[in-house]
Amino acid sequence: MSATEQSTAPAATSGRRRRGSQLTAAPWLLLAPFLLFFVLTFVLPILVAVGQSFTRVTRSGVFGEQGVTSEFAWFANYAQALENGNFIDSIIRMLLFGVVQVTVMIALSTVLALLLESASARWPGFFRAVYFLPYGIPGVIATILWSFLYVPGLSPVIDAAEVVGIELDFLGAGTVLWSIANIVTWTYAGYNMMIIVAQLKAIPTEVYEAAKVDGAGPLRVAASIQLPLIRPALVLTTVFSIIGTLQLFAEPQVLSTVAPDVDSEYTPNLSAYTTAFAYNDYNVAAAQAVLIALVAFALSFLFLRLTNRRS
């Protein structure tokens, strides 16, 4: 169709009316494909999960061979999920993990970003690329990589430490959680750094000039200009890291084959997966999934609240 033809005078009024209906239809038309898939992959699954989490199966006979019935169970599945000490432990473990790992990682990312953006850094492009590289390595593969560096007998790191007289145990009961934290930090520190760097680059040069005139040193500049201005990026990366922490799955699952302490319910997600696929209990697994999502929501909101209040 040709645009110019339509804008001739006689067609103008009907064109405007058509325009009006187009204006109401257009946004929905544009949103339609997204919403279709959003409903299919977010809304419906969540409804299914909620529905499942309120359903319970009972069996008669030794294997249920004499009949299987399902009924509305109220909160029985939730109660069962919460009664499971391992599941609760896994959530507490992830909270501890999150508090330490997210803090360390965001701090590391921030320092790296500030150093790279300071005038003192040589070859910033090269370093940026190197730090960012692990982000492109899937968690499973990163864990396979690191597990080779953790396993006694294979790990040159342990061998090297032994020469100096230090005995390292990356996979012990007390250490394996932090070995996982290391993998996650390794993978995502560079990525978070990139977000912060992007925000740093958005700071207008005049701000720096003014600081220079005031005689502020690099530490002062970082503390009183750069940090406040990159707060939005820090909030963003922190919220994503919190959600990511609750999703932790691949790393502990891969490590469980070499670290006896990592059990099949080491993280909330692993617990839900085990309940669903190893124990074949989809109903309790659904309750667990709902609980995980609720905790993620609560934590994200809490964090956003806290940061908003402070500003």
């Binding site: 645009a3 804008s7 946004p27 544009l30 949103l31 494909p33 997204f34 898939f37 959003f38 977010f42 809304v43 419906l44 699954p45 969540i46 299914v48 999960a49 790296l112 300071s118 003192s120 850094a121 370093f127 690329a129 960012f132 590289l133 982000y135 492109g136 899937p138 499973v140 593969i141 990163a142 396979i144 080779f148 560096l149 040159p156 790191v157 061998d159 390794w186 990139m194 992007a198 925000q199 958005a202 502020a216 040193g217 500049v221 939005p232 990026a233 999703q247 799955f249 691949a250 084959t257 997600n269 839900a272 997966y273 669903a276 989809y282 999934a289 995980i292 999502a293 993620a296 929501f297």
Partner: protein, 298 residues
Amino acid sequence: MSAATVTDSVASGGRNRRPGQSAGRSILVTAILLLVALYFLVPVYWVVVAATKTTEDLFATNGFWFGQTFALFANVREVVAYDGGIFLRWFANSVLYSGVGALLATYFAAAGGYALSRYQFRGRNLVFGTILGGVLVPGTATALPMFLLFSELGLANTYWSVLIPSVVSPFGLFLCRIYADASVSPSLLEAARLDGASELRIFHTVGLRILTPALVTVFLFQLVGIWNNYFLPLVMLADQDLYPITLGLNNWRSQTDRLPEFYELTTGGVLLSVIPLAIAMIVLQRFWRGGLTEGAVK
């Protein structure tokens, strides 16, 4: 050296004009950066070395140096040839899932974000609020129920079961909306409307062009997200031929317990899968800018 330099530079107040101190600080900063770079590269270096070894050497020789035999090419040949070239198939699947998924996800997110930004309509806030909620829902929490749903629809264990969830990016839509808020000016759209262009056409000609920097970010974000995804395909796929590379390699690794020859396949496969990604990351990191922060700042 460090203590002196630090006090020095702090005392000097960091005025860059004095070349001697500036050089000192530069060396210090670069040294720190170099050390951190080492940390990021060590595992990659290890796998490069490991991929050149036979299983025997892998256990018997130091992990940071090459073994007696240089088996890299034999290992790589083995990786590519094993099980009728299944590794290449996994790789192609990964490319398919992440390429097609990210492309569609970007397009849908752009259209949706643009619509939410540029139009006033009833239900706008409800829709945006719901989608924003989707950003916060852990992807793994939906994977299990989605599997049940897809089983019902007969989609489980097909290419679709991984592709369909991959084309939805609530975060992408969020970014596009905020970027559109900031950069697509109403007057521009009005001008296009006066020219008589349809709303869809305006989006495709004017909107998409202005959104391009954000789109690149969303695309890369989603591309890497899908490439790295493990949980979703793990839950959805049973057929090895449909596996992405993450699942396939972990399959090999899980066999090392019973069949130690899989160590060679695993290290070789990891190396082969890391190389293209490493190159991609180095090339792409310069594009990883537009949109993301513009969105977050405002």
